[in-house]
């Protein structure tokens, strides 16, 4: 990994966190769909990034997000859960020949099917975890499921927009 690639990862990461703290925090559609764009920072790390680092980064970014939401531990718990799911999911989705160095988490590089299978389950279970912990009861389970489904779709759209607006693909591969 050269210094340019590392710089790119850091910019990616901080961009998503800043987006979450300053803008996405105030976004919601009809009180059902919430935007948790900061998970994009964790999901879009290089595919075979060290899983231990992913977990630690997820914990740190979750905790910092919690500072802005006034919910110590809530987003950290959900983000760590998402990072672990990412680790499992990335193993499950390994292509026939294994991952190659040039592959990155994007529609252009991995194809739409892989991208959706990689992103959507993690986003959904992250939102589900978040709302379950927030309500801390199963009384509103249908509302929680609806919120999780809507939020993960909304978050995916925002992540796609950011990913394609800010980062041009690096040539044709």
């Amino acid at each position: 990994m050269n210094s340019k690639a590392i710089f790119r990862i850091v910019v990616y990461f901080l961009n998503f966190l800043a987006l979450q703290w300053l803008v996405a925090r105030n976004l919601n559609l009809g009180g059902i769909a919430f935007c948790h764009a900061y998970i994009g920072a964790i999901l879009l790390l290089p595919i075979e990034f060290n899983a231990v680092m992913v977990l630690l980064l997820a914990f740190a970014s979750g905790l910092m997000t919690d500072v802005f939401y006034d919910t110590p531990g809530l987003h950290a718990a959900a983000a760590v859960f998402a990072a672990w799911l990412r680790h499992l999911n990335q193993k499950i989705l390994t292509p026939a020949g294994g991952y190659e160095d040039y592959m990155e988490v994007s529609v252009g590089s991995m194809g739409l099917r892989w991208y959706l299978l990689f992103m959507l389950p993690v986003l959904f279970f992250h939102s589900l975890m978040l709302f379950l912990l927030e309500y801390a009861s199963l009384d509103h389970i249908l509302l929680i499921l609806a919120k999780a489904a809507a939020s993960s779709a909304f978050t995916l759209i925002i992540i796609l927009i950011v990913q394609n607006a800010l980062y041009r693909p690096q040539g044709n591969r």
């Binding site: 300053l22 105030n26 977990l55 630690l56 919690d66 500072v67 939401y69 531990g73 809530l74 672990w84």
Partner: protein, 292 residues
């Protein structure tokens, strides 16, 4: 490094195997540790003072929120103006009424001097949310301005919440739109008192609890804070009754209240200090330890 078969002991084998095992599941172990740490923070942070910096009243987060709040506030100048004008009108009306009252009473010999009970401090809301189950807001006043945890917060329109944490220049407030926040309130028309609690979904409505069967509340009745609260002065507007239901097998009414404060456009709030709170609490506590 391979160890010759002859030198292998059972303990050595166990240690090597054990380390190998832990190395293999290191991701899962780290996941469990971090998840446990987060959940511990989540479920014990409310009472644990050591993590008090882990909220938006800490200096760095407060500064960032203030900057982003100044940008946002331009979009709400119209509503803010209208709100201030309405409050001005209200205060003017009260001034006139009090002047008239004073003129009619003249000298009241029964009046005895009493220390001023409530102090008001104005603050600007720099961070707010209404969409979650437990909502908090951040204001730009802190301990250096005399704010302390536990003080009541109101707006020109009605009750807002209670101060939770303070740093030197910022404070976080538990909004009335927080599922654990209880406000002692009463019906203005007949002095019946109960408790206001938010249900967690609609930011414009809350539930009024503990209004007994024999009382006759009406739709449209005004709900105000009661005399029993040490956080709020009595008579602060909470809302108006929107819906009343009485099930045959229940002791209390099921009352829905339209909140008078519009939490989604809140910009300026007043923090209320009850200068006699300590005295009143210290008198009430020994009598009824459950009362707060």
């Amino acid at each position: 490094m391979p160890v010759p078969l002859s030198k292998r002991t059972f303990a050595g084998f166990l240690m090597g195997g054990l380390f190998l095992f832990f190395f293999r599941i290191r991701v899962f172990m780290l996941f469990l540790i971090l998840e446990g740490l987060s959940l511990w923070l989540l479920f014990s942070a409310n009472s644990y003072q050591g993590v008090v910096w882990l909220n938006s009243s800490n200096a760095v987060a407060g500064r960032i929120l203030e900057i982003s709040g100044t940008v946002n506030s331009y979009f709400y100048l119209n509503t803010e103006n209208a709100e201030l004008a309405r409050e001005n009108a209200n205060l003017n009306a009260r001034l006139k009424a009090m002047e008239a009252e004073r003129a009619s009473f003249g000298l009241d010999t029964m009046h005895f001097p009493r220390p001023i009970e409530y102090k008001y401090r104005v603050a600007k809301v720099i961070n707010n949310s209404v969409a979650r189950v437990k909502n908090f807001m951040t204001i730009n006043r802190g301990t250096e301005d005399g704010i302390k945890a536990g003080m009541g917060v109101i707006s020109a329109l009605g009750v807002v919440g209670r101060v939770k944490n303070c740093s030197a220049h910022y404070s976080t407030i538990t909004s009335a739109l927080h599922s654990d926040m209880l406000i002692s309130a009463g019906i203005k028309r007949n002095n019946a008192f109960g408790t206001i609690r938010w249900e967690g979904n609609n930011p414009y409505q809350a539930r009024m609890l503990y209004i007994a069967r024999h009382i006759k509340p009406l739709v449209g009745d005004t709900i105000i804070t009661s005399d029993y609260s040490t956080v709020f002065p009595s008579g602060i507007m909470v809302g108006k009754i929107a819906k009343i239901k009485l099930n045959d097998n229940e002791t209390f009414y099921d009352i829905t209240v339209n909140l008078s404060t519009d939490f989604s456009t809140l910009s300026y709030v007043y923090v209320i200090e009850n200068t006699l709170k300590a005295e009143r609490d210290s008198l009430q506590q020994p009598t009824n330890p459950e009362l707060k």
